[in-house]
Symmetry: C2
DNA sequence: CCGTTAAGGTCTACAGCGTTGGCATAAGGA
DNA sequence: TCCTTATGCCAACGCTGTAGACCTTAACGG
């Protein structure tokens, strides 16, 4: 690696590249996101990124510790966007629901990027901010610490897990275009009733359902359970 | 690619390689799984696989349409193993629970492989078999077709999504060894209470919890909801 | 038992990848 | 204006996936 990676805050000399662009972490991450969207998951390479930036490929290594470091920064960016698009109302269940959907939506807006990052815990600032926010909502609503941590754990993992899964489906759709899209109506609907009676009987319903995300349903289920827990806690506290 | 990929069933001439091994899809998939486990996610390359098999790297292309085809076959194998390790009891909720845990466990037994495959729907035989089994359990329990499809959708996506997420955590642990493992006790526990009061207050609980999977809890939540649905359906049917 | 055929293993080659160390240059403090 | 050094550029290394030509030998018909 060229000597050392200088964190964005400490950069002083902003020399433009031969082609005139002035680089920054922000610009590189945004360009990478655009490339992922336009050229697919395998389309993000150091050389291509350099070309898109108007800079030598190796320059990127002055800003990130390898493409892997860039990947983590991209994940952080998606988390930040989720947080920025979200506003609290004070009603804990509604707030958690909208925050979960915001995270999910932010990742799905860049499926290829989501696939690369959703299963990685980075521990970077905006990610920690999300965690702090969730715990704050729960503790503010009256959950005990143990319950709050339990709900938080399930909540954040659920959001990330479905982000990754649904992003995978979307990414494949984008790349294979229509080839996989109708698999539920093609492959599955053709199975004979003798060998696969249950799939055959529900084929039409399957085709309708499988192209949507199951996330909202599962999220509501989880929040409903949490609400029950909270009510039980309050009852115990009120009449001991 | 060498002419054509011949499906396993139609192979006739089983010529041993120069080094004496007799190849088959099964042997290649098993070897690939072992390599993923031993050398990590980036350790599976055509050349290394060839070496491990005692064959020329390009031979693999006679069995699979590129490494991507091999990847799909690996996913299929993991699904098959889940199914083989599972036995039905006739009690729908218990059966679904154990099947979900079996799928999750099968993937987690090969975290690196799971990461490569968990977010891909292959439409291959064993995967379809799992789908048929789930739908059979639900419809046998008395769910209406629409409800059955709804629960099935959430159930299978949940299992795969958590498999991918937890596999990601495991894979990183395996590779970075201890560096990330204690992140919850290192990074998060060091945050000052002024800026992150909620994380600070629950740091100890977080550290205990975040290294386990939230899957069983979320799965039970989903199954509980399904049970409620079923009871409502029955009540409606009994007293219209 | 032999001859023919083609399945399938091997060789060679190519274009592209991530990454690095050395070098050149210009930005900004003095 | 000069000096320091951050930062962009260049060339190179060892690796990758995979295509196509080639060669060997298993399997089958007679």
């Amino acid at each position: 690696m060229p000597k050392k990676v200088v964190p964005e805050g400490e950069r002083r000399r902003r020399r433009p590249t031969r082609q005139g662009t002035v680089l920054s972490e922000k610009l590189i991450v945004e360009t990478a996101l655009r490339m992922l969207r336009e050229h697919g998951g395998a389309g993000l390479t150091a050389r291509r990124l350099g070309a898109a930036l108007g800079a030598d490929p190796s320059t990127v290594y002055r800003y990130f510790a390898g493409l892997d470091g860039l990947t983590r920064a991209i994940g952080e960016e998606l988390m930040g966007r989720a947080l920025d698009s979200w506003t609290a109302t004070g009603e804990w269940r509604a707030d958690l629901r909208s925050l979960g959907l915001a995270v999910h939506a932010s990742y799905l807006a860049h499926p290829q990027a989501a696939l690369l990052t959703a299963s990685r815990v980075t521990g970077r600032p905006r990610e920690i901010e999300v965690d702090e926010t969730i715990l704050g909502i729960l503790r503010g609503a009256g959950f005990g610490d143990a319950d709050a941590v339990g709900v938080y754990h399930a909540f954040i993992d659920l959001a990330l897990a479905f982000a990754a899964l649904d992003a995978g489906a979307l990414a494949i759709k984008d790349e294979v275009r229509e080839a996989d899209e109708h698999m539920w109506t093609s492959t599955y609907a053709r199975l004979p009733a003798e060998t696969h009676p249950h799939i055959a009987a529900t084929a039409r319903l399957l085709a309708e359902r499988m192209n949507d995300s199951a996330y909202p349903v599962v999220l509501d289920t989880l929040l409903g359970r949490a609400e029950g827990q909270l009510a039980a806690t309050r009852k115990r506290a009120a009449a001991p």
